[in-house]
Amino acid sequence: MMSVLNQHLGVIKIALRRMFTSPLAGVLNVLVIGIALSLPAGMYVLLKNTQNLVAQLSGSPQISLFLMMETTRDDVEQLRNQLARHEGIRGIEFISRAAALEQLGENSGLDDVIAGLEDNPLPDAFVISPAAIDARSLEELRNELQQLPGVELAQLDSAWAYKLEAILEFARVAVLVLASLLSLGLIAITFNTIRLQILTQRDEIQISRLIGATDAFIRRPFMYFGALQGLFGGIAAWLIIAMGLQLLKQPLATLSQLYSSTFTLQALSLSDSLSLLLFSVYLGWLGAWLSVARHLSQTEPR
């Protein structure tokens, strides 16, 4: 057991030494992998942040129910009872036209203008908190409420958020496509790096086979090389993303202050970081495996 462990440690040392025999090439490879990975991963981070922001802003969606101007107190009471019994509705709040006008005055600073109005142009309104908050049931509820007698307009307050979410879903797929393409690129990079290494190690491979090396033994240093290169590439990608977020932090803080919001960028979470590294290691490993397998099958004795 000890000896197997030692053997693997020895192979890792060899792989590391090979990586740093030509430091420039090694570093460039790692950098290429890092940049290629940081693009989709960075976009993923921004996407996730935007999603958070949308969730924060849209919070709990509401439907505003504006009543017709000629609605009477009785009508309002009847409607209130009807709404209270509705299963799809979690809470209702009535805002009378007088209260609405007062609120408008406070919020907009248009007190003087409002005071000059002959009569109140605002209708009575209910603000409704729906029970289900997915886009489809919200839309259904809105349509249903629109049909109620005495209702002038039922308006979904967070409709924009759902549209944005749809756009984000589109972006998510785009990131996925980009990630797949760049992953293939990474496999190709590792494949080629290992191929060049195999060419310089041709004699050693041939002799090792002649004196009883298994394919696994021959493969091992190359696989470790691919995996380590992937690991370093993953770390580079992580650093690039971390630096990018750091650079964005200040301008974003200024921006969110202007919107009197306290939104801050979330960096890659621990599990996301681990996934990034593992994925990168896996891609390097796979590229190396493919490359060695190709060489071994090509040099198979007849």
Binding site: D203, G212, T214
Partner: protein, 233 residues
């Protein structure tokens, strides 16, 4: 230990390297494989180590038919066979010690044990004082001895040598033969290919003579001058 039964080998280009070759080599026996260049000596040795597969017939090594061995079993067959090449096949990116260490690394020996074994093997071929040198700094004879050290460090029961003295002058060749004789004495089965008539005449070892891919006669009489061909003097 080694048995050929009606073995033929035809290469994809149609060249027939071996035709209906049959012979046996007992455990612990030592034999020369003689013949002009192109007679099929190298092919025959390669068939034993399953570096190539016969077109027909069977090759038994240790009662195992190596011509039908699965790919995954080949490494374990080869670990029991020490191969000595005419062109040495040394690795010049590492020193003498590490060249001999390679077979032990492949078998997964632990560090301390393999160090001892490497030095023992180098001692046997008289290269112990050169362990830190690069093989490129060694003479032709020393390189051949290094190749032998690498072949025996595993303590294989079979040694196959392809023209081990081919490029060496007589004095070096004598040294190499002395080393082979010492392995023979400890019970290793040896098959040594050569076209060196001098060497064949001076030893009392069985000779298997090949001519155009066919065995001439499995002569056990070392005096028979059937060494055919390129007659070196």
């Amino acid at each position: 230990m080694i048995a050929f039964n009606q073995v033929s080998k035809r290469y994809p280009d149609g060249y027939e390297a071996l035709k209906q070759v049959s012979f046996e080599l007992a455990k612990g026996e030592m034999a020369f494989l003689s013949g002009h260049s192109g007679a099929g000596k190298s092919t025959l040795l390669k068939l034993i180590a399953a570096i190539e597969r016969p077109t027909s017939g069977s090759v038994l090594v240790n009662n195992q038919n190596v011509s039908v061995l699965k790919k995954g079993a080949l490494p374990y067959l080869r670990r029991n066979i020490g191969l000595i090449f005419q062109d040495h096949k040394l690795l010049f990116d590492r020193n003498v010690f590490d060249n001999v260490l390679l077979p032990l690394q492949i078998c997964g020996f632990d560090h301390r044990e393999s160090g001892k074994r490497v030095r023992a093997a180098l001692d046997k071929v008289g290269l112990l004082n050169r362990e830190k040198s690069n093989p490129i700094a060694l003479s032709g004879g020393e390189q051949q001895r290094l190749c032998i050290a690498r072949a025996i460090v595993n303590r294989p029961s079979i040694l196959l040598a392809d023209e081990p003295t081919g490029n060496l002058d007589a004095e070096y060749a004598q040294e190499i033969m002395a080393i082979f004789n010492s392995f023979h004495q400890v019970g290793v089965t040896l098959l040594i290919s050569t076209h060196d008539a001098e060497m064949l005449r001076n030893s009392h070892v069985r000779v298997i003579a090949l001519k155009h891919g066919e065995i001439q006669l499995p002569a056990s009489n070392p005096q028979s001058p059937d060494t055919t061909g390129t007659g070196q003097t």
